[in-house]
């Protein structure tokens, strides 16, 4: 009986979904970027006038800006007039069962230990609900329970386009307040054309009743090309948010330029974790995603705290510096990073910790692993301002090299404008020793697994910062990312 109901519910959902998609399909913006395209996007989203003006202003600034060239990454020039900025999600032919899904994809799911039912959802099998009614029953009901629970707590969690409609005051107050539209070339581009992303608001004194990662685990959402995320945690609130997925993500777009803004008011805490596994391209890096991201947190209030944890394994090029502005006194910023590059991947990533308030603390733990012919750069800034008496920073950058053709680079910038601060920087570079490999192999562990074990040991400190349910999967992902790097 319950099953019958579920099937009916699911059918209803599908009707709605397909109708919606068909409608969008008929309207698609032509290639290229100009003010009309931006007006079109804004109109499609039914946005208020102020939002359109904001976008246009960003676009005008972008026109005057130049693409940054200081990162240690090399790529062919991007023709921004040759890209689509608004296109309905492609009506892909969905596989009818797992039998029709690329076996290599399934193999990866298998290795990651993702349950079969979730595999169907991730692979976008047509009518996955029908085949596995209970799985959908679970996910629909679980998702609904989550939603109710969030509402009860007063937490707002919705697509940013919905937030612009429903909570214009909050959005106007905070959007662009951490990453202004003219902050940098890619942030300006994103501000002009973003079409999706998430909005989170945690009110005063509320501890978000669940890890928002748990929610995503059930409702796997498609990430867009120009994502915009805005998370606000009001006084004394707390939220943990996970972006991405260990499962390999294919993208129709080569260029991804996301902006993430976090705002922590007094006594608030935000934990933001990312597992990035975009398509890295073939062995030469062809066809891989360019990931140019601006992520910044504003620890606005006293005693606020923001932790960034990232596991970067995918993309052909990664350009990303999740940062913290430590404005409130006693505020704390943390950055825990694992960046793995193999084959022809290029990573230029790190963080900026800007100490403005008194007794502010920051901690940076970066673990870079390079294999193949890849280049992996840590680039970080620790800046202590004049009034930041008692500020403290600890930075540790460790690089691990696998093979003799890759590169690891550490570029720390330190600026201290007060003598009343303490800044520590430690850096190591090591290679996987032949002795370590032989020791493990002599105990019965095949070479690739031995490398994965050594690397997982190397990054352990950071893995432990991830939400529990992702720890084991991430460990396996690290093994998979390094396949073919030895021998």
């Amino acid at each position: 009986m319950a099953d019958q109901d579920t099937i009916r519910q699911v059918e209803e959902l599908k009707k709605y979904k397909y109708g919606f998609e068909t409608e969008i399909e008929t309207e698609k913006a032509p290639k290229g970027l100009n003010e009309d395209i931006i007006r079109f996007i804004s109109a499609k989203k039914g946005e208020p006038e102020w939002m359109l003006e904001w976008r246009l202003e960003a676009y005008r600034q972008w026109l005057k800006m130049e693409e940054p060239r200081w990162a240690k990454v090399r790529y062919e020039p991007i023709d921004y007039q040759d890209l689509y900025y608004y296109a309905a999600p492609k009506q892909q032919k969905k596989p009818k069962s797992l039998d029709e899904v690329d076996p290599r994809l399934l193999e990866t799911y298998e290795k990651l230990g993702i349950p079969l039912k979730e595999q169907m959802v991730l692979a976008g099998v047509e009518g996955a609900p029908k085949v596995a009614v209970d799985a959908v029953f679970d996910s629909v009901s679980v998702a609904t329970t989550f939603r109710e629970e969030l509402e009860k707590a007063g937490v707002i969690f919705c697509p940013i386009s919905e937030a612009i409609q429903k909570y214009p005051d909050l959005v106007r107050k905070y959007l662009g307040s951490v990453v202004p539209p003219g902050d940098n070339f890619f942030a300006a581009l994103n501000s002009a054309v973003f079409t999706d992303g998430s909005f989170v608001y945690v009110p005063k004194g509320v501890r978000c009743p669940m890890e928002l990662s748990t929610y995503f685990r059930i409702n796997e959402k498609k990430t867009g090309q120009f994502e915009r995320t805005l998370i606000i945690v009001d006084e004394g609130g707390y939220v943990s948010y996970l972006e991405g997925c260990t499962a390999p993500a294919r993208s129709e777009h080569q260029l991804h330029a996301a902006v993430v803004e976090l705002i922590a008011e007094k006594d608030a805490e935000i934990k933001y974790s990312t597992v990035q596994n975009w398509y890295p391209g073939d062995e030469e890096g062809r066809g891989g995603v360019y990931n140019f991201v601006t992520k910044r947190a504003d620890c606005r209030g006293d005693n606020s705290k923001v932790s960034w944890t990232q596991v970067e394994t995918g993309s052909a090029i990664t350009w990303k510096y999740p940062s913290c502005l430590l404005r409130g006194d006693n505020s704390v910023g943390e950055f825990y990073s694992i960046a793995i590059s193999n084959n022809a991947q290029q990573v230029d990533s790190g963080t900026k910790m800007v100490h403005l308030g008194k007794n502010t603390k920051s901690r940076i733990i970066s673990k870079g692993i390079s294999a193949g012919k890849s280049q992996n750069t840590y680039r970080g800034l620790v800046s202590i301002h004049r009034k930041a008496h008692g500020a403290r920073n600890f930075t540790q950058c460790d690089s691990l090299l696998i093979g003799g053709e890759c590169g690891a680079h550490t570029v720390p910038y330190i600026q201290a404008k007060t003598p009343h601060a303490k800044v520590e920087h430690e850096a190591t570079t090591s290679k996987i020793a032949e002795d370590q490999l032989f020791y493990l192999r002599a105990r019965g562990i095949p070479e690739e697994e031995a490398v994965a074990l050594i690397v997982n040991g190397f990054v352990r400190e950071v893995i432990q910062k991830l939400p529990m349910e992702f720890m084991a999967e991430t460990q396996r992902l690290i093994g998979i990312s390094l396949e073919g790097s030895v021998g």
Partner: protein, 257 residues
């Protein structure tokens, strides 16, 4: 026969094609059966450790002649991990540190990898924990020790005791102990030897490589071989070790030459 080494010759491959390959093992033969403990004694540079590395399949050595049969099978064509899965264990003179990898995890991955290579089912976590707890207790190893990263910050005695724990958990058919006594004081040596003796049995063989007779007071061998210049120059019973202790290596080496 558990292990048969016939006219083995092996060279150390020079790094990056520099210089000529140097022959270290120069025609060595040895037979060892289940239930037997053989000791190989020899001066520094006689090729004892090289023999253990060649048996375990360490990269950097090349066998130029002869053969090694393990349980009747050609050992030399197997990868190191396959040799381990077939039941060959090399207790190393210098156990290697693996930062960040808890000992427990390492043991579990090792045991289950071996089982997988042998086509057996992996051991579940509770079964594995039970097994390790029992074996660790017998060796006086605390569970806290097993939470620490592999060999990082361990004393010489602790490292060697953990090698014995690995043997107890992995249950190999042949244990090759490469100078397991090096760097141990007498108390640590006793603990390690007791652990080894507890593993002796009719189905398992031991090849004990040592420089000093002292170890053989605690692990009593059935056969003693003296090795010099890449081959075995004399074999005998336990009394040979005592003779060697009295007269020194020089006398034997001169005789052989």
């Amino acid at each position: 026969m558990l292990l048969e080494v016939k006219d083995l010759r092996a060279v150390v491959r020079p790094e990056e094609d520099e210089g000529e390959a140097k022959e270290i093992i120069k025609g060595l033969s040895l037979s060892l059966d289940r239930g037997e403990v053989h000791a190989i004694m020899g001066p520094n540079g006689s090729g004892k450790s090289t023999l253990s590395h060649v048996l375990a399949g360490k990269p950097g050595y090349e066998v130029t002649d002869g053969e090694v049969l393990f349980d009747g099978e050609n050992l030399l064509e197997l990868e190191p991990e396959e040799r381990a899965a077939k039941g060959l264990f090399l207790a190393m003179q210098y156990p290697v540190e693996i930062p960040g990898v808890p000992y427990m995890q390492f043991l579990k991955v090792a045991l289950n990898s071996q089982r997988k290579l042998r086509g057996e089912d992996e051991l579940s976590t509770p079964d594995f924990m039970r097994l390790v707890r029992e074996k660790a207790q017998a060796l006086g190893i605390s569970m806290d020790m097993l939470k620490r990263p592999v060999n990082v910050g361990f004393s010489g005695g602790e490292k060697k005791r953990m090698e014995v724990l690995q043997m107890a958990v992995l249950e190999p058919k042949l244990c090759v102990l490469d100078e397991i006594d090096s760097g141990l004081d007498i108390d640590a040596l006793k603990v390690v030897a007791e652990g080894v003796n507890a593993l002796r049995g009719p189905r398992r063989g031991f090849l004990v490589i040592t420089h000093y007779q002292r170890l053989l007071d605690y692990i009593e061998p059935d056969h003693v071989h003296i090795m010099a210049n890449g081959r075995i120059i004399r074999s005998g019973g336990p009394e040979l070790a005592h003779e060697l202790e009295r007269e020194g290596y020089a006398a034997f080496v001169e005789d052989a030459a």
